[in-house]
Symmetry: C2
Subunit: 238 residues, 2 copies
Amino acid sequence: MFRRLIESLEVLGPLTSGEREAVESLGAVSRPFAPGAELVAEGDAPAHCRLLLEGQAFRHRTLADGRRQIMSFHTPGDMIDLEGLFLPMDHGLTALTAGEVLHLPHARLLDLMDSHPRVGRRFWTMTLKDAAIFREWILNIGRRTAYVRIAHLFCEVVVRLQRAGLVDNGRCAFPITQQHLSDATGLSAVHTNRTLQALRGEGLLSLRGGELVVLDWPGLQAAGEFDSSYLHLRESAA
Amino acid sequence: MFRRLIESLEVLGPLTSGEREAVESLGAVSRPFAPGAELVAEGDAPAHCRLLLEGQAFRHRTLADGRRQIMSFHTPGDMIDLEGLFLPMDHGLTALTAGEVLHLPHARLLDLMDSHPRVGRRFWTMTLKDAAIFREWILNIGRRTAYVRIAHLFCEVVVRLQRAGLVDNGRCAFPITQQHLSDATGLSAVHTNRTLQALRGEGLLSLRGGELVVLDWPGLQAAGEFDSSYLHLRESAA
DNA sequence: GTTGCCGGCTTACATAGGTTAAGGTGCGGC
DNA sequence: GCCGCACCTTAACCTATGTAAGCCGGCAAC
């Protein structure tokens, strides 16, 4: 049950056995969820943090008139509301697929981090990596054309799913609708459809029945002007 | 010299005198900078964190062909490269005005946070608030029209400058060019000019000679669909 | 005081992307 | 085996925003 969490923490280098034990005794509870479930609502002040064990989710905010913006996608191993530890949630989290979250009580988590500062730093670093991704999205939406923007998004998703071990030979489950894609890229649904067809037409990918298939990875990266360094996949903590 | 830092940390509630002393003995050095100075370069792996003591700066990334995206503006009291503590900088920081930064050595900072976990949490919370602002910018750029988008940006800047005590009767120093404004909002310079004239035409603000004057604050907030809750101005740490 | 430059402003024109509306397709429910 | 619904697709048209080019005013350098 803690495998995902330990793995996520150890991206930044191995933990000591004492640290690992401390993490494992957090008193966490796991909970299944259904596709489309609201995992965290805008305005919540949760009493525990959620680790995504299985499945996918996304972060979003909706304006009064219904326009929605998706701010990130999440894959197993991600802490999806770590910021809720200190701030009320200013956005919601919704499940894309069925899956499972692990609930880590705030109080226990804070104690753990106080007594094991190195572990605390790793949680902090997770939120810093999220922030780096937010910045990349600002750049993507602000300065790239629809075609490049969508390609870039797919590149990011594939790399992250791959790291979670969920890509098999270029194929992965990624059940988004074109509306989701529009809301993530700041485009209209119609234009997203047009652009997606262009990407398909170039033989770069296919997205159907909830499955994303990358047909030409170098081509997709080029189309998305993609450079994964902002994901900080290999950085280790001090 | 530490006034700004202590103030920033105490937004989240008072520190104990022990904590305050520990912060004050960080061995920090202050450095002046000129307008346009590159405070942190993309790719840097700094050995200290910078607190903005005086002046303004902005965070940005430039693409190969010269397109630039500004990701945030910063005011005195902000830690501008706290993420550099754990990750190499994936973007640069440039001075907008003349000013001064305080250098806090990473090693000392890490020791401080290990021995005073409550102080560590507050630094962490600062980066979480930055992340909340990044998310708001994603929404702003992705889902709002040029007019609303620019108005929203000015609202944010004014609120933050106000909190730093730099707004006097609606007037504040904010020496950005229209090009800066374009790069922050993802618009072209020409369209930024048009839109700015519309805002002026509505009697909402004036921006000239490096000075921003808010002429109609309620009107500007309405135009920017602005709700400051994402800035988490009053949240206190656990 | 001329020169050069930067930032602001304008105009004319081009286009990426939005809007509206309608038809098609697959699929679960009954 | 039909219905309804969610999603995808297409088409026609529109407009917000981008591009290219040039001018103007102020100010710093010499």
